[in-house]
Structures are given as C-alpha cells and as structure tokens.
C-alpha cells in the first residue's frame, strides 16, 4: 500500500483512539472516584456499568439545544469547536511506538516527525486559550465571562513555567524533535531521573493547563455556576467536557514521552525490530499513559481546590523561579561535564 | 518537514513574495488610515509589521542568509513588548475618556 494511505489509516486510528480513550476516561473517573470514596460507581448500564459513556453520549445528544438571545451566534457555535481542535491537534507529533517494517520500508508510528515537535506542542497549548475565551464571551453572561477570564489567565500563567521547565530538557537532549528525545531514553536513561525538578514543574503545569483539580477553579460549580460553559447545552457542552478529557489524555502522553521514556522499556527495546517488539512497545506506551491518567484522577479526589490568588502566586512566584534555577543547574552540570 | 531543497525556490520567483508583502502592507495601511477604533488601528499596525516580517523571511530564505530571519526574531520580540505597553496605555486612556474613538483623543491639541 502506498505511504500516504498508510498515514491516513494511522491518523484515523489515533483520532478514533483518542476519542475512545476520552470516552472511557469519563467512566474510569467515576469508577475511581467511587473507589476512593468507598462506594460503587456506575454499575447499571451494561455489565459493570461499561456502557455508561454511551448512555451519557446519547443523553447529551437528546438535550435541547438553545442559543442565548443576545449571544453572538457564530462565535457561540465555534467556541467548543476551537477547544476540540486544539485538543486533538497535539496528537500529531507524539511517537506511539518504534518503526514497523511495511513492504521493506520502515513506517514510523508517529503522524509526523517535525524538527521542532516540542515547540509545536507548546504552540498548540498556547492556542487552547481561545476556545475558553470565545465560549465565555459569546455566552453574553457575566458569570461566563468571569469564568473564562479566570481560566484564560490561569492557562497563560502556567504555560510560561511549562515552557521554562522544558528548556532544561532540550539542553540535555540537544534536539526539539520528540522522536530524538524518546530514542535517547532507551534503557534506564529516563529523563525523570536526570530532571526530577523539571518533571515536577511540568506535572504541576499540566494539571493547571488541563483545568484539572486542584486547579479547576474556572469550572467548579460552587464558585461560578458553571464557569465558561454555563450557557452551553447538549453536544456543545459535550464537546467542552470531552475535549477536557482528550486534553488529559494528550498531557499524559506528552509526560510519558518527555520524562518516562515513551515506548521504551528496559528489555523490550533491545529486541530485534518486528511485530512483537512494536506491539509490546505500544503496550508499554499506553500503560504509561493510563498510569498518568489514573494519577490525574487520583489527585483530583485527594487535594482541595486552590483559591485564585494562591493559584497565581504558585504559578508566577514559585514555579517560574524554580524553573529558572533548574535551567541554571542543568547548564552548570552540562558545562562541568564538557570539561570547562 | 525536512527536505534538501524545497521546490518553492524554483517554482515561485522572489518577486511574488515581495508583491505579497506589499499587498499585505497596503491592506494594513488602509486600515490604519480609515478605521476609527483604536484597537482596530493597533491590529492593522500588527498586519503591517507581519508584512515586513514576511518579506524579510522570504528574502533571507531565497538567498540563504540567516540575517533576515534573525531580524524577524527581534522584530517579533519588540512587537510583543510594544503591544503590551500600547494596550496598557489604551486601557488607561479609556478609563479617563470613556471612549475608544480616536477622534476624542485630542487633549493635547493647542
């Protein structure tokens, strides 16, 4: 089969897989929350409640769609769309496994391997603010606007610390391409052992960027009614909630790729290339992603929510200086190793 | 995205890029001269800056001289700083004059 057909199949598979994993993340969230709160989760729809996401989806489709009276119609319809687009776009550069041999030519399990993959992820994360801002503004509602502005300011504050924490990583790997960063972590050289502080900062910023607790002030119901998605109903609300879970999946994938060795595992990466090695590596990658998704949910039901000024204080006055100190220490160690 | 010699350098002559930048610049210029809202005027200035950036980048790419792209890098940095300060000034002026129509900003007129 020609190369472009294979790529299209691969991209559709990744697209479908992100949607499927996001769908069952909603189910997993409710089951894990139930487990942590010593109760049963959903167990009526299908065996063990496994058909619950389908039931939720059907419910959302059948709700009434309304657009508030003075709302800007086009922007109201486009807001959730922007959010979903930026959530799905990041999956284009994540390497899901080593090369497989098709017709004698290696086919990489990564939609595109651009030279500046890390910068691309950073750019798409910066664009995620637009979906929230447009949705909050187009609702023509003071609470929505306030929630949107809080969410946007949280997003842009933590995006700075995220970028700074990645710089030390790039200094160590001398490359912005995600495939190079993953390939340098073969064996036990996972980046989390070399950059523990960078990993911690990036983890906290990933929580803040995906609006997950303890940083979920923009959308908690006790503070601002519904925040920026108060006025949205039916599938537009479904898009917002769904895109948040896709964001969580993508953040887990980026964390696994940058700091935990991606699809490498000591023992598996030294096998000869073949179907078995690829399948095991993809399994390892998804195992790491699911661990991080579980971690996201675990923290949600453990820590209380941050207040707005505590959140801003953490982002600007604690994380940014820590990230800069991380860069200094990394630079000093690299110079020392180079013999200066 | 890696390629040894992108085909665009043989398919499109440099004059096309210069004309495109000039057209974008003219669109921004018309916006600055015509619109009356200070925010829109500011955005049209950004269009003009981007048109100049496009011309610098295309010339630098066609001749293999990295100086053009470095200049664009610094232009973007300066534009970001300028937008921050400019928007702060606009917010202050709006607080005092309660309007964003540039015909009202004539307090310094003798």
């Amino acid at each position: 089969m020609s190369w472009i057909i294979l790529k299209i199949i691969f991209i559709s598979v990744i697209f479908g897989l992100s949607l499927f994993i996001a769908m069952y993340s909603t189910y997993a969230e409710r089951k894990i929350a139930a487990f942590l709160q010593d109760r049963l989760g959903p167990n009526r729809a299908g065996p063990f409640g496994l058909l619950q996401p389908l039931a939720d989806g059907v419910k959302l489709f059948f709700k009434e769609e309304f657009i508030p009276m003075k709302a800007d119609r086009w922007l109201f319809l486009m807001g959730p769309g922007f959010f979903m687009i930026t959530a799905l776009m990041t999956s284009a550069v994540i390497p899901f496994g080593p090369d497989i041999i098709v017709d004698g030519k290696p086919f990489s399990l990564q939609a595109t391997d651009i030279n500046v993959g890390l910068l691309y992820i950073f750019g798409v994360v910066s664009l995620g603010v637009y979906g929230i801002l447009i949705g909050g503004w187009a609702s023509n509602n003071k609470f929505s606007l306030l929630g949107a502005i809080r969410a946007a300011s949280q997003n842009i504050s933590y995006e700075l610390a995220m970028g700074l924490s990645i710089i030390a990583l790039v200094m160590m790997s001398s490359s912005l391409s995600l495939k190079d960063i993953v390939d340098q972590q073969a064996g036990w050289h996972w980046n989390v052992f070399y950059q523990p502080l960078g990993f911690l900062i990036f983890l906290v910023c990933a929580f803040a960027e995906t609006n997950r607790a303890p940083f979920d002030l923009p959308e908690c119901e006790t503070e601002l009614v519904g925040g920026y998605h108060t006025e949205f109903s039916s599938m537009k609300l479904g898009f917002y909630l769904f895109a948040e879970y896709i964001n969580m999946f993508i953040s887990s994938a980026v964390l696994a790729t940058l700091f935990f060795g991606g699809y490498h595992f000591p023992g598996i990466s030294s096998m000869e290339p073949g179907i078995l090695k690829t399948a095991l590596s993809v399994g390892v990658m998804f195992g790491k992603i699911f661990f991080f998704i579980f971690f996201f949910m675990w923290v949600r039901w453990t820590l209380p929510r941050f207040r707005y000024d505590q959140l801003m204080n953490l982002g600007w006055r604690i994380l940014i200086p820590l990230a800069v100190i991380n860069i200094l220490i990394t630079g000093a160690v690299i110079l020392y190793k180079m013999g200066l | 995205m890696e390629s040894t010699a992108p085909e665009i350098f043989s398919a499109i002559p440099l004059t096309h890029y210069i004309l495109l930048s000039a057209a974008l610049f003219v669109v921004g210029l018309i916006g600055v001269m015509t619109r009356k809202s200070i925010i829109i005027v500011f955005m049209c200035i950004e269009i003009m800056l981007n048109a100049a950036n496009l011309m610098l980048t295309s010339t630098s790419a066609y001749y293999g001289n990295p100086g053009g792209q470095i200049m664009v890098f610094f232009t973007m940095a300066v534009a970001a700083a300028e937008v921050a300060v400019g928007l702060a000034i606009i917010v202050m002026v709006y607080k005092n004059l309660k309007s964003t129509n540039i015909d009202v900003f004539n307090k310094l007129k003798g």
């Binding site: 603010v129 | 004059t15 210069i18 974008l24 973007m76």
Partner: protein, 167 residues
C-alpha cells in the same frame, strides 16, 4: 503543484487581512487576524523557515492576540457604533495605498534581482538559526531581555492606581 498552494495561501491571507479591516465586530476582527497569522506561518513553512513559523504562532497568535482579546473583553466593546462618515475617507485611503503599491510594482520592474544558485536552504532550521543567533548576534539577544524587563516595569507602572494624596 506547489505554486497552486502558494497562490491559494496568498489569496486567503489577503482576504483575511481585508476582513480584519472591514469587519464591524472587534472580536471578529481579532479572529480574522489570528487566521492571518496562521496563514503567514504556513508561508514560512513553505519557505522552510520552520522555527519562525512556530515562533510566529506562539508569540503572535498565542500571546499577543490573547492580550488583545482580554482588552476588548474588559472594555466591553460590542458592535461598532461609529457613524459612517461617507466613502470619502475610504476613497482617499484606497488611492494612497494603491499608489504605494504601484510604486513597489514599478520598482520591482526596474530592478534586477540577483540569483544565488548555491544558497543554503536549511538556514531556517532550529540548529542553524540557533548557532547564528548565539554566536554573531549575542549582544542584541541580551539587550532584548533588558527591553522586556523595561516593558514589564512600564506596564505595571502604567496600570497602578494613583495614591490619594491627603491635602
């Protein structure tokens, strides 16, 4: 094939820029401007200037336009209420802009652009650009950091509330 891509991108860019100027809603102008920046980044990718394409998205579309959106939302600017003062300002602007464009076209006609057959077409990649930036242009880099510090201090100073002086 690639020249069709170039022409399509150019027409889309100029169309989006025109919509920025013409549109009556400030928010729609901002969104069209974001689209314009995306299309200009696409041009940079065509020219193999990958780093600049992404930095354009991160800086312009991701930060500067968010600032604009914040200001428009705070000032609560809805549909423009400026009165339509006739088509004379537009005619004057069109004549002025059009004559500028004519000057550029005629200058290009007379000029004779040099060709460079063995130009290095990979200077847009991150490694090469980074090398040049940190070796030959180190001083402007460091001075631009001072520039950012001054801009930040200026913005904080401008937006401070004035102290009430006790007479």
């Amino acid at each position: 094939m690639i020249d069709k891509i170039f022409y399509a991108l150019s027409i889309a860019t100029i169309l989006c820029a025109c919509m920025v100027v013409i549109s009556k809603h400030p928010i729609r102008s901002i969104l069209f401007l974001v689209a314009t920046f995306f299309l200009i980044s696409a041009h940079y990718v065509l020219l193999n200037a990958q780093f600049l394409a992404l930095v354009n998205i991160v800086v312009y579309a991701g930060a500067i336009m968010v600032l604009f959106l914040f200001v428009v939302m705070f000032l609560n600017l809805n549909k423009e209420v400026e009165p339509y003062k006739g088509f004379l300002p537009w005619l004057a602007a069109l004549v002025g802009g059009g004559s500028f464009f004519l000057i550029v076209i005629s200058a290009l006609q007379k000029s004779n652009l040099l060709q460079n057959e063995n130009a290095n077409h990979s200077i847009g990649l991150v490694e090469n650009l980074g090398n040049v930036l940190y070796k030959e242009y180190l001083l402007p880099m460091e001075i631009s950091s001072v520039l950012f510090l001054i801009a930040m201090a200026g913005v904080v100073l401008l937006s401070r509330k004035e102290k009430i002086v006790n007479e």
